[in-house]
Symmetry: C2
């Protein structure tokens, strides 16, 4: 059984110091070990990862856990206000928060394209590690695969997250009922336009920064303040309009929202008008809606406004009885129109 | 705020019946909803997924949990004995088993390439669902992203898994100690060569089927039989040689393994000789090594052999004291050679 692998592909004798990702970095051999020890372990630095085992083991108390996953394919990798690294942490942290859970542990799966500069990967990993520290979560286990040049696009990241459901939290679309008040955590459209501005070189939009940020602190405060929250939903792909439609369909209710109560910054409004985009459909990465009984609405608003990430929180509408799940927007001119699900693709690869 | 999105890309008016994946399938709108409701929900069919929320919530008792993740980029998507769908379930189930855990819940993150036939996706998802049922796990939450044609390669899948660590299981490389016996669960090299045979059209290897299979049943039996297991490791990328090296480095021990005790089938041995490959470095997807104290070795062997997936289990070597972590292979001719970590890439995109 000789080890002279005549079928070796792409880098038979890779130098340890080579500066780009090779197929062998995903091959389970020496280069993958180097990548793990030089790039991933020092950045994520925790006892679980340091065991270098097939997974991470941690103790839990009896209770309810939440599990969520998202892959990140945003293009370009860096944009005003964030990058794929921080996005891959905050996005999954926020999905856990939307389950009423305190985020605890993340996994990280990298799909790297052959030829990717190692320095780019290191920058992204550093950004992930900083975001994880800021959000109080640990990246405890991971995986790296490498695909041939031209079969990927630099870096794709998947993170899955495990969180502990907060005491008293039962957060599902099915709990939303007529009479519930809809609260929005802040202004819309910044993430989508920030990514678009660098991708398309739109100078007029260059002062728009992504809203990408973790929101779990707000959610924890809502529950520790004893507020009855029926449902939470972050406003990523498809924006506010799609999130409301999804919940209306799942809960079999109607909704009315008021155009003028929805915060949209002037630069975003202007850019959307120029580009023919609707900010209600543009992706956000640090915004969510909360559905609460009317009696809780003002208390919830007060809690949300004391956090920087949701200081612009506003009541934007109400849940209604309806035979057909439908979301209706009332405008300043008192016209009404249906906010439908997006049928095409507005901004691809935004997250 | 009009919804006439002049920047719509790639499919301004996609027909619901269209037969290939469009960017809009990852856009958070109507097409993504259709994909979820028509393809994912019916296949994975469970109460968690049916909630259509940002994550899945499930109760846990106090104890220890394991979390693991793997991305799957195997090419081609189907190979003798499996496909990317079943692989993405069994691979992660096995990683949980290697942590001494009973696999419970999986997440699934899909990165699809624009233009992928919907039927191909449906076949892969059906295979995942069947594999999940066979392994007794539920796919409880998921995510779909679509990348432009030429920026992916059909289907990439990430699965993360959560499992409950079995009573009495403390399975880490650090517990491996001199004197431990090394058990191998079955014959080597079939997965790597099965994938290679279809990729390269190697007729002489066409009767080699992947060993892809879940092994958690064996692991559960080892622990319920009261066997003291110090470490477990599956033999995926880099094969047996890499797995042993990784553990030797983590535990700071040496190992000796005996060439003739390692089962390799005749077709695999023949194909490896022709191709200049070493079966000790070829990837497997249903094989693992177990490290147990000498006093437990024969009992462990008996337990392993009563499972179909490990009926060829064998004692292949021992852990030794060593100043340098090193794995030594003794051959039939009584020669000794170091089994080193692979330094290049033997078979890219094998899992």
């Amino acid at each position: 059984m000789g080890n002279d692998n005549s079928l070796e592909v792409s880098c038979p004798l890779p130098a340890l110091e080579q500066r780009t990702i090779a197929l062998a970095h995903g091959g389970g051999g020496r280069l993958m070990q180097e990548l793990i020890r030089r790039t991933f372990l020092p950045a994520f630095d925790n006892v679980w990862l340091a065991q270098l085992h097939d997974g991470a083991v941690f103790p839990v108390d009896a209770g309810k856990l939440a599990l969520t996953t998202d892959s990140y394919v945003v293009r370009p990798l860096c944009f005003p206000g964030g990058d794929i690294g921080s996005l891959s942490v905050y996005g999954t942290v926020n999905d856990l928060a939307m389950c009423g859970a305190k985020p605890l542990y993340l996994s990280a799966g990298f799909i790297l394209e052959e030829g990717l500069p190692l320095e780019t990967l290191a920058r992204v990993v550093t950004s992930m590690a900083e975001a994880a520290q800021a959000a109080g979560v640990a990246v405890v286990t991971g995986d790296t695969k490498v695909v041939d040049h031209g079969k990927g696009d630099g870096i794709f990241i998947n993170t899955a997250g495990v969180g502990l459901v907060l005491r008293g939290a039962t957060v599902t679309p099915q709990r939303v009922r007529p009479g519930d008040v809809i609260l929005l955590s802040g202004d819309l459209g910044r993430h989508g336009l920030a990514v678009l501005s660098v991708r398309e070189g739109l100078a007029f939009a260059s002062d728009i920064r992504s809203d990408s940020a973790p929101v779990h602190g707000v959610v924890e405060d809502l529950f520790s303040s004893g507020i009855e929250v029926h449902c939470l939903r972050d406003l990523t792909r498809g924006g506010l309009a799609s999130a409301l439609n999804e919940i209306a369909m799942a809960a079999r209710v109607g909704m009315t929202v008021e155009d003028r109560s929805i915060p949209v910054s002037e630069p975003v409004r202007g850019a959307c008008e120029l580009l023919g985009l609707d900010p209600l459909y543009v992706a956000n990465e640090g915004r969510f809606v909360a559905f609460v009984p009317e009696s809780e609405a003002h208390k919830a608003l007060t809690v949300m406004r004391r956090h920087e990430v949701s200081h612009q929180a506003a009541i934007i509408g109400r849940v209604t009885e309806s035979d057909e799940p439908a979301v209706v927007l009332t405008t300043v001119l008192a016209t009404r129109r249906f906010l439908d699900l997006l049928s095409g693709e507005q901004l691809p690869r935004i997250c």
